[in-house]
């Protein structure tokens, strides 16, 4: 792998950039691999990377029906945080946060993880109770965070309307300074480059059309480029997980919903942290390019169309202008949608299935991007050992039958 550095850049400039290598190969599928990962988004590529790098399993294929990183990895609003309420979720997201903190160096690919902090606003007494509960839990779990009052919020974000005249005045917020944003595409590309360099085959434009299962054990997949065998198959396909599960004769407690986001035209820097509000219902940050990156909740119906309904966009911008009246004359450039696979308890499924060797990592709903390194790592560990990583174990699919749900609707309230 060609190492990237400032010095390297100068060298390449002098040779007119004619010597840049491919960041990943475009290999022909082999007949068989040790492990197949279905889904070439951040989580899937990350899983392959960690399998190769930390667990010594390099004979791995990542099968992607489109282009790598072209799904939700490319469509989210890039927020990274770990201030979840329940121990199980907090541990998983904090595991991820710790990996984010060295990811650029680990991958030799700058994912631009910007720890500019995230505010979750409270507008009602119950909001504030929930915020206190969550921040107290975070603190005792070793996760950074504090509760701010309205004045503290105003100091952090002077351009926000924190007055009492607002319809739902800001009463305070939780503040996680280590949280922030990252460059979404770079995460997929960085993992792809890293995995490829370690020998992983990334098979783009390859669609899984079925699973090869015998006596309750998976031994490969059918694809539009022929059959590929492996005794361990991990599916990390976000919104398409339900479709894959059906191919394996499985049913999942998932619904795939549209999640919309939008950006303004690029502006000079005006907002240097991430602001989220469950109650007024919107969230916003400003990218390094200057766009205000904005989102809110999912659309209530199932949809694979990578678009949602217009009123959702209206409500989202109403919330943003309510919080930031100065943005009224700013203009919305582009909107788009992703497909998020949501679980009844707003927590993921990282689980074995009834089919031996077939694993699913899905149901991340609106929170998947931030979990990418942690999810990928615990999933890789689970696939490598055939036994669920302790941080993944509580997210077994069995919880929907035993009742041991991990209800994170509070912490996940606004989609992001």
């Amino acid at each position: 792998m060609q190492r990237y550095s400032g010095f390297g850049l100068v060298k390449h400039a002098l040779s007119h950039h004619e010597n840049w290598q491919r960041q990943w190969r475009n290999p022909t599928p082999k007949k068989a691999y040790d492990v197949i990962i279905v889904g070439g988004g951040g989580h899937g590529l990350g899983t392959a990377y960690y399998l190769a790098k930390e667990f010594g399993i390099r004979n791995v294929a990542v099968i992607e029906k489109g282009w790598l990183g072209g799904g939700n990895t490319a469509r989210n609003t890039t927020i990274v945080r770990s201030n979840y309420l329940w121990d199980e979720a907090a541990a998983l997201y904090e595991h991820s946060m710790k990996r984010w903190e060295g990811l650029s160096q680990d991958l030799n690919y700058n994912v631009m993880f910007s720890q500019r902090g995230v505010l979750n606003l409270g507008h009602t007494l119950q909001d504030m109770r929930d915020i206190q509960r969550r921040v107290n839990a975070n603190r005792l779990n070793g996760i950074d965070g504090e509760v701010l009052d309205a004045k503290g919020v105003q100091e952090l974000v002077p351009i926000m309307d924190c007055s009492k005249n607002a319809r739902y005045p800001v009463m305070g917020a939780s503040w996680q300074p280590r949280a922030g944003v990252a460059r979404h595409d770079a995460v997929a590309w960085g993992y792809a480059r890293g995995a490829d360099a370690l020998g992983v085959d990334i098979l783009q434009q390859t669609e899984v059309t079925g699973f090869k299962i015998r006596d309750g054990q998976v031994y490969g997949v059918h694809t539009n480029r022929g059959d590929i065998e492996a005794k361990t198959v991990g599916c990390v396909a976000a919104g398409n997980s339900g479709v894959l599960a059906k191919m394996a004769g499985l049913k999942l407690p998932l619904e795939s919903h549209p999640l919309q986001a939008l950006v303004s035209e690029p502006l000079k820097p005006v907002l240097d942290t991430v602001v989220m509000s469950n109650h007024v219902h919107g969230y916003i940050s400003q990218s390094d390019k200057g766009d205000l990156v904005i989102g809110a909740g999912i659309d209530g119906y199932n949809g694979y169309g990578q678009r949602g309904s217009y009123p959702t966009v209206e409500h989202t911008l109403q919330a943003i202008v309510e919080m930031f009246p100065i943005f009224s004359r700013v203009r919305m450039n582009r909107q788009w949608g992703g497909i998020v696979d949501t679980c009844p308890d707003a927590c993921p499924i990282i689980s074995k299935t009834k089919v031996k060797g077939l694993y699913f990592n899905c149901g991340w709903g609106t929170g998947g991007f931030k979990a990418t390194p942690g999810s990928a790592h615990v999933f890789a560990a689970s696939l490598a050992k055939g036994e669920m990583h302790p941080l993944a174990a509580p997210f077994s699919i069995d919880r929907f039958n035993t009742g041991a749900l991990i209800d994170e609707h509070g912490a996940a309230g606004v989609a992001h």
Binding site: R22, N26, L125, R134, N136, K268, I326, R331, N401
Partner: protein, 1012 residues
């Protein structure tokens, strides 16, 4: 001041009036009818901006929505600032102030440009990803500097003085675009009687006909436009919306139209007749049929230094000359791949300025326009193209050479032509943006070298939007499509009547996107593909070398198409270039998918009137005025404004909340208080199966509740988790009145309907919301009976009107239903009267209440009093993970009811049946002065290292004036078996509070006080 490039005649301008405006602080003049762009060109302003990445000087290249460079900041005051206005779409008004969005210290002498020039080589695509990584701790510092160079314009820092609104419209046929196709379609549909909306983004309707050289019915095209517009304006069934952009096409023919109503008049909306006008209006249109008559955008050619000011679109040159009377230079070189662009040279020559040459990429140019150029003696260089522009801040020359298109190489010696303007045209791309907003992928058509839309039911494209270009054909196509749309919505087609247009013979265009150069792309001069984002052909080559092979990857890696112009000029060229590098065809590389918006839309317009005081409804009770007048502080509960507490002025200052609440609590425990409880949900339930239904949706039993009696009920979802609670009264054998929590009212009613409509339709029962019909006032405290006795005819005797009874009678001469239920633990009556009388009853109570020190109290006191009694608030003490058993409410669980009520089955699942679940308990802080923090986490071992095992948390916590101590409700693992044990609450400030687990009932555990 002179306008050096303004022609003496021509253009659709009001030359009788002059408008004054400033650009970068300098004053210029223009005319009504100008855009800011045409006025800048008229005044000879070459550099309008600096580019995003390389800080190169940039000028105006286009005349419409596709303009990538002339993006300016508008506004003379802070509040009126508008970032990123496209000068080509901004009508000039008197006093307009505009500035470049980039350039320091100014756009003429930009210091960043030096860096761009030197450093440009070090900024290949993706360079961010490849550097700034060491040391890790420095990224936040690097980022600060990177961010500084971000953005185009800037946000205003003051509130918007303008207002916006929405119109919900429905029509049979929506025609988007009022060029030849759109006007024709609107006429066909309009004459048939269909309801038609015709929307056009420009200041004037007419589109390409406004600068056409052609004759319609042997008259200038704009005369036909004027007549068509006049006829349409006279039809009652047609609505014309000029200055209106269709910015988004959504499912099932829902289209958003953004109408700019005042942006041509001033930077803020002027008043009209003393009343405010909206700055812009968003029409939310549901159309039976949509006709996309959006035309086509000209593609520029990609050649060296094609970004130097003076490089323009060929079509834009014609538009500026013919529509605005501006000729943007003196000596023109035209580089084209098609006939149509010859218009630019002809118009230029007819303006009396020099056409140096036309470099035509075709070996043998032919066609009427070509002949006209030849006739004028214009030099045509066949088989050639402009390889490279010369000049820094303005074009000074063009290097032209023969090119081998097949071999992608320069085939002859280049000659440098002296000129100050290069116009280019690489063909036309149908404007298919709207059609692809719902995900429909367009199809590449090799014959027209463009993508045409794939359309869903109910949408049709006409004219240029589907690759039909000759004017006569466009008019006919528009008519046919407009007529079909009317027929599809139930109207009869009318006979066609179209103007005569002479057919014109045109030569076939060739495919040319990137122009070859003597040097390889990576070593030659910069050839810009996306001007706004500084994406070059070389960048696309580097991206493909690095393995970014799909157009989506190329776009993301290079940022192509992510500007405010969304790649209207560059995307197809970019795809063609990527295809060439990859050795594939354009459709193999991918299709181009556009997202809303077509052009950016002001947040304010999307928000409309839903902001400020109208952001969200505020719901008021019938006593709201009284609360306001008596100084209540309000709490938001759902959309309701509820009195939170009523602070009084004492000793010349306002009470604190704690003081006010303590006073209110004491009043209830010692005298009498009154609460406005109108916000509780109330559902009237009638029918012979009402009782059976209640038994199924509540956890507890309802079989034996007699008329005249009231019972508390607990409701679960089928996962066994508590959803809501409230009291339900038996009014008659088949008649019940259910109350719900304030926030749960709508959800509970829908819940009941859900089960009735979907699972148990055979049960004869009806539910009706009567929440707003009744106003509810809770009179509670030891003196409550005495107070009420003064104004009611109801027998209040404790035997005649027992706890958990309800009675009807009069209160202050008003018919009332009174419920003897208590949420405070004190003697309490909930009085319900028709809301229109509520203020009278409330005030009568106060008139009589003085001697009992009747005290109004709010939600905070209500919470303290109920918590002292261990009564839960659903949503505060429960969070969707709490079962009735967890709450210790065994008494409210009818395990032996015959029907397996909602929630029952789930209670025996392995996890819900655990005995160490978090259970509701009381907490008594060891230090009575401590009021525990709500949300504080509970641990058993305060010395445990982090992460500490958390065993529960505080759900409700208050200071109790009755106990003179803090107290709390909490959920604790296995708490019901841990009475008397000590738990610890480690706080953020380092303190660790100690508390004892106690019963959640702190006051009057035997319940004697409410029974007096």
């Amino acid at each position: 001041m002179s306008q050096p490039n303004r022609l003496a005649r021509g253009g659709r301008l009001d030359r009788s009036r002059e408008l004054s405006f400033t650009f970068n602080g300098k004053t210029y003049r223009g005319h009504p009818g100008d855009t800011l762009a045409s006025a800048l060109l008229a005044n000879g302003v070459d550099i309008v901006n600096r580019s995003f990445k390389y800080s190169r000087p940039r000028g105006i290249v286009a005349a419409g929505a596709e303009e990538p460079n002339a993006v300016v900041q508008l506004g003379s005051t802070e509040a009126a600032q508008v970032p990123n206005v496209r000068a080509t779409q901004q009508a000039l008004f008197d006093g307009l102030e505009a500035r470049s969005t980039n350039g320091w210290p100014n756009v003429q002498r930009d210091l960043m440009g030096v860096i761009g020039k030197l450093g440009g080589q070090f900024m290949p695509p993706g360079f961010y990803y490849k550097t700034f990584m060491a040391p890790a701790s420095m990224w936040m510092t690097y980022e600060k500097y990177i961010r500084k160079s971000a953005g185009l314009g800037r946000s205003p820092m003051e509130k918007d003085p303008d207002i916006y609104d929405h119109f919900n419209r429905h029509c049979d046929v929506l025609v988007i675009g009022a060029g030849p196709a759109g006007l024709s379609a609107a006429l066909a549909a309009g004459r048939s009687g269909a309801l038609v909306i015709l929307a056009d983004e420009q200041e004037e309707m007419g589109g390409s006909l406004l600068d056409s050289r052609e004759l319609l019915d042997e008259r200038p095209a704009d005369q036909w436009v004027a007549e068509a517009v006049e006829e349409l304006a006279g039809l009652d069934n047609v609505l014309l919306l000029p200055r209106t952009t269709a910015n988004g096409y959504h499912d099932h023919n829902f289209v958003t139209l953004h109408e700019r109503r005042t942006e041509h008049l001033g930077e803020t909306a002027p008043q009209k007749g003393g009343r405010r006008q909206v700055r812009s209006r968003l029409h939310r249109v549901r159309a039976g049929q949509v006709v996309l008559a959006t035309g086509a955008h000209e593609r520029p050619l990609v050649y060296g230094n094609n970004d130097v000011p003076g490089n323009l679109q060929a079509g834009a040159v014609s538009t500026y000359i013919r529509r605005y009377g501006v000729v943007p230079g003196n000596k023109l070189v035209l580089s084209t791949s098609n006939d149509h662009a010859y218009r630019a040279a002809l118009d230029w020559a007819e303006s009396g300025r020099e056409v140096v040459a036309i470099a035509d990429a075709r070996a043998e140019p032919s066609g009427e326009l070509v002949e006209q150029a030849r006739a004028k003696g214009i030099r045509i260089i066949p088989g050639a193209a402009v390889l490279e522009a010369r000049g820094q801040s303005r074009v000074t020359g063009a290097r032209v050479a023969r090119v081998d298109l097949e071999g992608f190489r320069v085939a002859g010696e280049a000659e440098t032509l002296d000129c100050d303007t290069i116009a280019s045209s690489g063909g036309y791309s149908p404007v298919i943006h709207l059609a692809s907003h719902t995900g429909a992928r367009p199809t590449w058509r090799e014959d027209i070298l463009g993508f045409v839309p794939n359309l869903v039911n109910g949408v049709q494209a006409a004219g240029g939007a589907r690759g039909v270009y000759p004017t006569a054909e466009v008019l006919a196509d528009g008519w046919a499509v407009g007529g079909q749309a009317a027929v599809a919505t139930g109207f009869d087609a009318v006979e066609a009547s179209l103007p005569q247009v002479a057919a014109r013979q045109e030569g076939k265009p060739v495919a040319l996107y990137q122009v070859p150069h003597e040097k390889p792309t990576l070593r030659g001069p910069k050839q810009f593909v996306d001007l706004q984002n500084d994406v070059t052909a070389a960048a696309i080559e580097v991206a493909t070398r690095e393995g970014f092979e799909s157009i989506e990857h190329v776009k993301r890696y290079t940022a192509m198409g992510f500007g405010t112009d969304q790649g209207k000029l560059g995307n197809i060229n970019g795809m063609a270039i990527a295809a060439r590098f990859l050795g594939r065809s354009i459709p193999e590389v991918g299709t181009t998918v556009f997202r809303p918006n077509y052009t950016p839309v002001t947040f304010g317009a999307v928000v409309g009137r839903h902001c400020r005081e109208l952001f969200d409804p505020e719901r008021y009770t019938a006593m709201h005025q009284w609360h306001v007048e008596h100084g209540a502080e309000f709490e938001d509960v759902g959309q309701w404004k509820r009195p939170w507490y009523f602070p009084r002025r004492i000793e010349g200052r306002m009470e604190s909340m704690r003081e006010a609440v303590a006073r209110e609590c004491r009043a209830v425990r010692e005298k009498v208080g009154i609460l406005d409880a109108s916000t509780l949900g109330k559902i009237d339930i009638q029918g012979p199966d009402a009782r059976e239904f209640l038994g199924r949706v509540y956890t507890n039993k309802w079989a034996k509740l007699a008329p005249g009696r009231v019972r508390y009920g607990l409701m679960c979802k089928d996962d066994g988790m508590v959803m809501d609670d409230g009291t339900t009264s038996c009014l008659g054998e088949n008649h019940f009145l259910m109350t719900t929590s304030t926030g749960g009212a709508a959800a509970v009613l829908e819940w009941l309907e859900l089960w009735h409509q979907t699972e148990w339709p055979e049960l004869e029962v009806y539910f009706n919301s009567v929440t707003d019909h009744w106003a509810t006032m809770t009179v509670t405290g030891p003196e409550a009976r005495k107070l009420l006795a003064e104004i009611t005819d109801i027998d209040l005797d404790r035997e005649a009107f027992k706890f958990m009874d309800w009675r009807e009678g009069r209160m202050a001469d008003v018919p009332a239903r009174v419920f003897r239920i208590s949420f405070t633990g004190e003697l309490a009556y909930e009085i319900n009267v028709q809301a229109n009388y509520a203020l009278h009853v409330w005030e009568t109570l106060f008139a009589h209440g003085e001697k009992y020190e009747l005290t109004p109290y709010g939600t905070e006191t209500m919470h303290v009093l109920r918590a002292e009694k261990g009564f839960i608030i659903a949503g505060q003490d429960t969070d969707g993970s709490v079962t009735p058993e967890d709450l210790g409410m065994h008494w409210a669980i009818g395990y032996d009811k015959p029907f397996s009520w909602i929630g029952k089955r789930a209670l025996t699942r392995p996890d819900t049946a655990r005995t160490d679940r978090k259970q509701l308990v009381g907490l008594k802080p060891r230090d009575p002065k401590v009021v525990l923090e709500e949300g504080a986490q509970i641990v058993f071992d305060p010395d445990h290292a982090i992460p500490m095992p958390m065993k529960g948390h505080v759900t409700s916590s208050y200071y109790s004036p009755t106990l003179d101590s803090g107290f709390a409700l909490a959920v604790v693992k296995g708490g019901q078996q841990r009475m008397g044990e000590t738990v610890y609450l480690p706080m953020a400030d380092g303190q660790v509070h100690e508390a004892e687990i106690v019963s959640p009932i702190f006051v009057d555990p035997k319940g004697e006080r409410q029974n007096v």
